[in-house]
Symmetry: C2
Subunit: 292 residues, 2 copies
């Protein structure tokens, strides 16, 4: 099977659905701002993981589409708010001016709020249309790992740690929650909707932990070893910002070692789901081999 | 029945539950900030409407408690974000420094995000525990009216209208959505959980529209007729800010007239639910007769 082609088809489907969910309507300015940020590109990593986890357990990806799009809305809301002057104060993302630079801070805050809220509007709509309580369990996972059991608390500890000496446990907590939260949620929710058992969902949590952690270690490695041209953003930014990373805390050798180990384990765990999981496995490998 | 006593009992129950949901835990700073804002007082208007609407159709209020607390979390998130420098830039609320003054802007943004997200964590938890798809319908109503069909879009049009001449339709849109959104959602969700039919839920939407609009007209009236001492906040603030209000657009006489009419209609509609709705009716009247 041509996985690359399939990947692009899935991305197109996700983009098409996001576009229709967020159709421009009154009051236009807020929908424009939400659309500006969510349609600015991006790998659609979380939707892709959700769809392919569903497929890996034999589910129908059409059932997942609202949830996949909701994950991207939640991811985008977090980027908009992270970029705000009161947080990371970033003027550019993916080479384009950030939401609060194009609109204003007030609208950017509301666009973030709007995307988070809209994710749950879309999820509840799907649950009610299907009348399937299993979908509510997927909703619960997404809510938990976006919030008090994942991304939000990871982000809090991250900004609280700025300029401080942090220990290994704290760094692992940040990576596992801030980056790993939505990755775990995507895989678990996708598997659940696809009909996975509780035990299988737990396995996807483990896969998510490993992919999330490997993803973040790679980020930390690339910040040191890559070039601005390849990465499309300034390198050595962590060093300049005195930011503790996996590399600065454990050293480059161990970082590379752990990255390899986590990646291999994740790929192996996915393999346990057999042929149906081949696309997910290929996709996980492509994330591991990325150079930007 | 002593309604005043019952009201205080309900408020205590709501406060007790909010307190336990948001128990202080790691990372403490964000839970502290969320607790600071949500436990800073407040009438608990939305939870009270939700509980008493459930009761008005013969439901058990214990089933509603997670939803009632979620409404207060959503309301509080909107206040925290509204108070931010990029929005209304308010240093005080209910006589206490606002969230971003006590903590910082970054934490205030995250505390708002956290409360919105946590509301849905609590709601999904309740749905999954009960395994009742009817509760998902209540979740959908809450998500819709907090977001793209209510509060969020109302707030967008409100800040977009600042310093502009707006027409009647725009003012009614702002009031119906920004203030009315959560009021309608509370009544509709409470009724739904209590076992109301679709037709009855629609009636609660109408009641919510009337209460929300009357509530907001009263706000606009009090800004002109009250004193800073009674109101606990500066009067004539709308006039000073050149803000178009119901009073400035329709005149004081018509504002009072419409307020009376909407209030009477709301109370009458509640009456159709008979004896079980007596507390809701009393509560609606107390909102109407408020002088602050």
């Amino acid at each position: 099977m041509n996985f690359e082609k399939k990947l692009n088809e899935y991305i197109e489907k996700v983009n098409f659905n996001i576009d229709s969910y967020l159709e421009l309507r009154y009051p236009e300015r807020i929908f424009e701002a939400m659309r500006y940020s969510i349609l600015a590109g991006g790998k659609r990593l979380r939707p892709l993981l959700l769809l392919s986890a569903c497929e890996a357990v034999g589910g129908n990806i059409e059932d997942c589409m609202p949830f996949a799009c909701a994950m991207e809305m939640i991811h985008t809301y977090s980027l908009i708010h992270d970029d705000l002057p009161a947080m990371d104060n970033d003027d550019f993302r993916r080479g384009k001016p950030t939401c609060h630079k194009v609109y204003d801070e007030g609208i950017a805050i509301l666009a973030g709020d709007g995307l988070l809220n809209y994710a749950f509007e879309v999820i509840f709509d799907a649950i009610c249309k299907k009348g399937d309580i299993n979908l509510a369990k997927a909703g619960k996972i997404i809510a938990d790992y976006s919030g008090s059991k994942g991304m939000l608390v990871g982000q809090v500890v991250d900004i609280e740690s700025e300029g401080k000496e942090i220990d290994k446990d704290t760094l692992l907590y940040i990576h596992d929650n801030k980056t790993g939260g939505l990755i775990k949620a995507s895989l678990m929710a996708g598997a659940l909707i696809g009909g996975a058992s509780e035990k299988e969902v737990e396995k996807f949590k483990e896969i998510g932990y490993k992919i999330g952690m490997a993803f973040q270690i790679k980020d930390d490695i690339l910040d040191v070893t890559s070039t601005t041209e390849v990465l499309g953003k300034p390198v050595l930014s962590d060093v300049k910002n005195n930011k503790i990373t996996y590399v600065s805390l454990f050293g480059m050798e161990k970082a590379k070692e752990d990255f390899e180990k986590l990646s291999e384990e994740a790929v192996k765990l996915i393999g346990e789901f057999g042929e149906k999981a081949e696309f997910l496995q290929w996709y996980a490998k492509s994330l591991i081999n990325r150079n930007k």
